[in-house]
Symmetry: C2
DNA sequence: CCAAAAGTGTTGACTGTACACCCATGT
DNA sequence: ACATGGGTGTACAGTCAACACTTTTGG
């Protein structure tokens, strides 16, 4: 059987929450095509490299991030998506709490910047479409899994948890109902810690019982 | 930027229902590796070929099927999955009513056979894993979309519809509740036709209002 | 004492589930 | 006449959504 040779890349949609906004990490492209435009971090797979490993490598090399929630999204391969021709990209999405990230600006890293999904700049290739797809996936995963843990620090207040949901789903939720449902689900447990020092009543801190991906039966 | 060259394939999980069983189409491999073993239909992408187009081409060439429900599943690329090394496969799943298929046995087509998912033979590569993944996807899609239309003929009885669900979900459903829910969802409508000639009371024939993929709010 | 977020229950509407009998036809 | 699947309604339980006030702290 004949074997044809292909160019395969990966692109990664990295989400975090900061300033009460859902943000995506973009970098300025160093090379043509789309030189100096914003794009998702990504790159070509090495020969014989596994896609999952390539993602980890690229995350580290381009934006100095590791140990994040990672999941394959979709493989895009239409001819129009890259001016160099039909280039296949296996897209991934990543979730991380914002305090885990220290973006180092240097020559190596191409000014990675978190941008609110509500006000994205012009973006190279079909990366806008990939971001839209990732956002859909994130929204539905919120509703039937415990992925929220990967956006939050180990200890968090109920309010932080609820804000995470509200920001991503882009709608207000009822405080009492939210508590009830979440406690009933049995995903989180209270700790003995409280968050003091704010200028209101201190809030109990909770933690996820398991910080591994888990599916639920029914949800929001 | 350096570009590396890769081998990219596609594999297709084609489901249908016949003899009250959910079945997958397998073919006998004509070449090494795994010569003469059962495997999913698939093949290498041509240079510059779009993955979606490659799937259509391969479906036609290998099993003489066209115009089926098609959806991308997942991209597998671990090193262990093919003895020839790290070969990437973009997997798809397809759904078709059984009467739409006329499997022609010839030299060209490698004895394609539908096998019940409950009694699969030894299967080449990691295709077992791909089938398991496809089955999960099919099950969850049944619950929040109208994909069932792609497994049924244009006109069908309520019982055929219910059996489709029961076979795939692998559990009995309540007849009255099933009707109620389905009618309430507004996905199907009664026709003036009936199915006569069986040895019981003739059944009303229904059809899907839309035979396009649609998502529902809530479901089973 | 004031501002700010923390924390807490009840009710009504809706949705899902369990369940049994008569009907129309072919043989 | 009988065997076979076709067709129909009700009641109970569980879940979801709406809603407002008191508490605890910092300033």
């Amino acid at each position: 059987m004949t074997r044809f040779h292909q160019s395969v890349t990966t692109d990664i949609v990295i989400f975090t929450i900061s300033d009460e906004q859902l943000k995506v990490l973009l970098i300025k492209r160093a090379n043509e095509p789309f030189k100096d435009q914003w794009a998702l971090p990504g790159g070509f797979l090495f020969e014989k490299e596994e896609p999952d490993k390539a993602v980890v490598r690229i995350l580290w090399k381009k934006v100095e991030i590791k140990d994040v929630y990672l999941e394959q999204l979709y493989t895009f391969g239409s001819s129009g998506r890259d001016p160099r021709g039909r280039i296949i990209t296996i897209s991934y999405f990543a979730l991380t709490p914002k305090d885990k990230i220290k973006i180092v600006v240097s020559d190596k890293v191409q000014t990675p910047t978190f941008r609110s999904v509500k006000q994205l700049p012009d973006i190279a290739f079909d990366h806008n479409r990939i971001i839209t797809y990732a956002l859909q996936r994130l929204r539905s995963k919120l509703e039937y899994t415990n992925v929220a843990y990967s956006l939050l620090p180990q200890y968090f207040t109920f309010n932080q948890l609820q804000r995470t949901y509200e920001i991503i789903l882009n709608k207000k939720l009822d405080k009492r109902n939210f508590r009830k449902k979440f406690i009933l689900l049995g995903l989180i447990k209270p700790t003995k810690k409280v968050l003091k020092g704010e200028r209101q009543r201190p809030a109990k801190l909770y933690q996820f019982i398991s910080r591994k991906p888990t599916e639920l039966k029914k949800f929001f």
